[in-house]
């Protein structure tokens, strides 16, 4: 399959605009979730800005369409606001989006951090893959999943266990997407393992996370159905 049409992901203008919009939108999401749409759960308040930074316009649209009830800012009564938010995010689709967002948010931050380190130290491909897997898993588990599960139980150990089992299954699919882009798509268009100082690194990094998000959606749907993750609600 020919992937050269994806060469635009190394274009300085496109990548700059993509991330500039993502950064501005992420700041707006932070403001919105802390001062307007305040019933977003704590883990998602951290995950959404990361997702919006990397997914840019796509992340912004996802936030507005799945996590922010229309006219939520016009409801002054706190109780009514909580009820409206809860009802809005309680459809299976939105729950799963929320579940996948805080999975990919945590994993994504870890994966991209590890990728920068691995490229600076010139890791071989599969060493880099497993390093990113480990760091992404750790970020996802100990920060995002743990924080999310802490709302479900009084025991820190139980939260760690619940977060760990959800993360174990979710991470496999996130890394399947990221790994596929890293091992095949990126080398076909711009060569193997571009440096973090290049536009291709950030363009294809965002693509990898987005494919990870798509592949982890069905896994998160399964996790939500059996009650191991609770998504946006």
């Amino acid at each position: 399959m020919e992937w050269s049409w994806l060469a635009f992901l190394a274009d300085p203008w496109l990548v700059s605009v993509w991330y500039a919009f993502g950064a501005v939108a992420a700041i707006w999401v932070i403001y919105d979730s802390y001062f307007v749409n305040v019933h977003v759960n704590a883990a998602l308040k951290w995950a959404w800005p990361i997702i919006v930074l990397f997914f840019s316009i796509i992340g912004f649209v996802l936030y507005v369409r799945t996590c922010r009830p229309p006219r939520i800012g016009r409801i002054s009564d706190k109780g009514e606001q909580a009820k409206v938010h809860y009802e809005y995010v309680s459809t299976h689709f939105r729950k799963v989006i929320g579940s996948a967002i805080h999975g990919v948010g945590g994993n994504g931050l870890g994966i991209m951090t590890a990728m920068v380190i691995a490229r600076l130290y010139d890791f071989a491909f599969w060493n880099e893959f497993w390093f990113e897997y480990a760091v992404g898993f750790a970020f996802g588990w100990f920060i995002f999943q743990y924080k999310s599960m802490r709302n479900m139980t009084h025991s820190a150990l139980m939260a760690l266990w619940m977060g760990g089992r959800a993360e174990f299954f979710s991470m496999m699919t996130v890394m399947a997407g990221m790994g596929s882009v890293m091992v095949y798509v990126t080398p076909s268009v711009v060569g193997e393992q571009p440096d973090p100082t290049t536009f291709a690194f950030w363009g294809f990094g965002a693509l990898g996370l987005m494919l990870g998000f798509v592949l982890t959606y069905p896994m998160n749907s399964w996790l939500v159905r059996i009650g191991w993750k609770h998504g946006m609600a």
Binding site: A10, T173, G179, V183, D195, L223
Partner: protein, 236 residues
Amino acid sequence: MKVLWHMLGMLAFGLIALALPAWLGQVRMGKPVEIPQAVVSREVESTGPLDSLSIPERVWSGLQMSVITAERNLKGGNRAKAMHTLDAARRVAAVGVHALPSRKSRYERVRRTLDQARREIQNGRPDEAVQTLSSMIAGWDNPAAGRAEMDGVKLATGAHYTEAVVLNVYGARIGKVVQAGDQRMTVALGGVQDVFGFLNLFPGTRVEVPVSQVLAGSADRTKGANVLLVTWGSKR
């Protein structure tokens, strides 16, 4: 019991998903480097029959042919082939820096130029990358410039090269070292190897080669240990 079935189902789904990068890795990394006949003929014209070349000459010729092929593919808009060959040439240059000390500066220059061309592509400027490669190739007109004797050539001796990736002179990955020794080395060519970086599922064809035919590449496990088998065969 129901929970167990869910766990098994999710595990199966996760493993199937992870098989995707593993399979794509095999497809990508096992791809041969295809050198067009015109490039081979041009090389034969300037150097004479390729099989008669000394080891350093073979490595230099292989590198030249990979770079010329990459430039042609990039010019012709065949991005996937161009990048595959450019990355392969970079691997040969890295082995050259390591294993051919008498020609180290030459290989370092090539590696720097290839890195520059890659960076230009990765910053959305493929036309500049073509120019960078063309300028380097233009400086290669004198075939004698690549000549080198065997003095100081580092061969891949020692057990620490076991499991190293085997490259051919074009830089294609053609197999893995099964057993490394001081005189002979067993390499497995082809097959399904190095899945996820550690699984050798089908070993391929085992071949014993004298170490005198194998140049030492990086021995660093994190950066990826490799050796260069002085062969023209480009099939994995």
